[in-house]
Symmetry: C2
């Protein structure tokens, strides 16, 4: 059975999509069978992996509505062992279309649980920048939540609200939901602010903060314009090294004792 991990943070632009794409690619490089599930109407994960808008016939919106199965919407990417469930703007209407439906926060869980036969080791869900119905669906379906934390001032402000939301979901719809960890992104060791954010995060959250920090690295921001993860775009860059180290640390943390 696949380990389902939501990549979430309601603060915008903190590196959710970048982490979902590059961590998935790193896990695939380490031999894991991975699926990225794009749950953001912006469809950045789909674009960043080269899925043209014209080939997004069936999307995660159809999966949520129960019209298609995961097997019917999953597409291959240019990365071995990595598939993607693509997204389009249709998802933006989910709030309205699904707003009054019974069990509307469990639609993704229902769609994924039924896929017991699925050949994936990991499913990473890229969430939109908000604590809306889509993100709640991801948290109810997931075994754990990975939180990218930009090493900037505003980023810390939203963290306590996010942890509160996770607690509420744990108490109501998904008691088994774990916090996989907090990943510092766009880290710049020369910048006092980055150091301060790291210090504050480790003081407040201890071991929940991954040892691996993802540095600010221009090769990471260039890679999506070539429709590939940074591991393929520039394998020796600091960005690639960081995401490979993050994948190894993730597997280490989850290794059976």
């Amino acid at each position: 059975k696949p380990k389902i991990m939501a990549v979430a943070n309601q603060k915008g632009g903190v590196g959710k999509t970048t982490t979902a794409i590059n961590l998935s690619a790193a896990l695939a490089r380490l031999g894991k069978r991975v699926l990225i599930l794009d749950l953001d109407p912006q469809g950045n994960a789909s674009t960043g992996l080269g899925i043209q808008p014209s080939s997004r016939q069936h999307t995660t919106f159809d999966l949520l509505m129960g019209d298609r199965t995961l097997a019917e919407i999953a597409l291959p990417t240019q990365v071995d062992n990595l598939m993607i469930a693509p997204a389009t703007q249709d998802l933006a209407s989910a709030d309205i279309e699904l707003g009054q439906r019974e069990g509307r926060i469990r639609l993704l869980r229902k769609a994924l649980v039924g896929q017991a036969s699925e050949p994936y080791d990991h499913i990473l869900v890229d969430c939109p920048p908000s604590l809306n119905l889509l993100t709640v669906n991801a948290m109810v379906a997931a075994h754990s939540v990975l939180v990218p934390l930009q090493s900037e001032f505003f980023a810390l402000e939203g963290l306590s609200q996010l942890m509160l939301t996770l607690k509420q979901i744990r108490q109501s719809a998904n008691p088994a939901l774990r916090t996989e960890g907090i990943v510092l992104t766009m880290y710049d060791g020369r910048n006092r602010l980055s150091q301060q954010v790291e210090q504050d995060a480790r003081d407040a959250l201890g071991d929940l903060v991954f040892r691996t920090r993802v540095p600010r690295n221009v090769r990471i921001s260039e890679a999506p314009s070539y429709a590939m993860p940074v591991l393929d775009y520039d394998p020796v860059s600091k960005g690639s090294q960081a995401y490979l180290a993050l994948a190894e640390e993730l597997l280490e943390r989850n290794a059976p004792i």
Copy 2:
């Protein structure tokens, strides 16, 4: 009557709050009476201007619900000529609380229009990273929309969707809505990607793109941790100069012929 401008882009982390705070402060420096209206449940504009959570008794949520007037919620900031209507997490429930209410997309417009006596020249509305009920309320209430565009690959992708949404709002709820312009943010002239985004934006949108570009500047990202706009934190920084130039260009564009 105040000119109401929504600062909006559903892509996260592109510099909406940073532009709302610093452009407002620059307009105030040029002698305009300005109000920032924080419409994001994250409350980053309120925090960035030093409004402690404990002093956000009455917020934009109360304004939307019709329980308080603008005059009752506006608070002074440390900047002359600049007031703020603060936000808290309560706003996050607006979608649910207001979801079925008649005229729910005109609530902000109704609350602001009634304030004809208000002493402001400009009202800037800081929007959350989504095209949800809050952002739609801002677009229906506003005379124009200012779009911060991060000089990165994913940022261009969302722009066509945003322009489409503006067109739909213009055709239905707010025929007078103008596009104030597109502001390139976090611009790095040495970075090929930044140059490419600028080229693509100017090719597609022409004069809608402001001449002034806001450079990536560490003083801009440090300023909110001192609860002040970059103009007060480091008046000679490239960030301060850019936002002052942007304010002047904005006034020039709107000067009576």
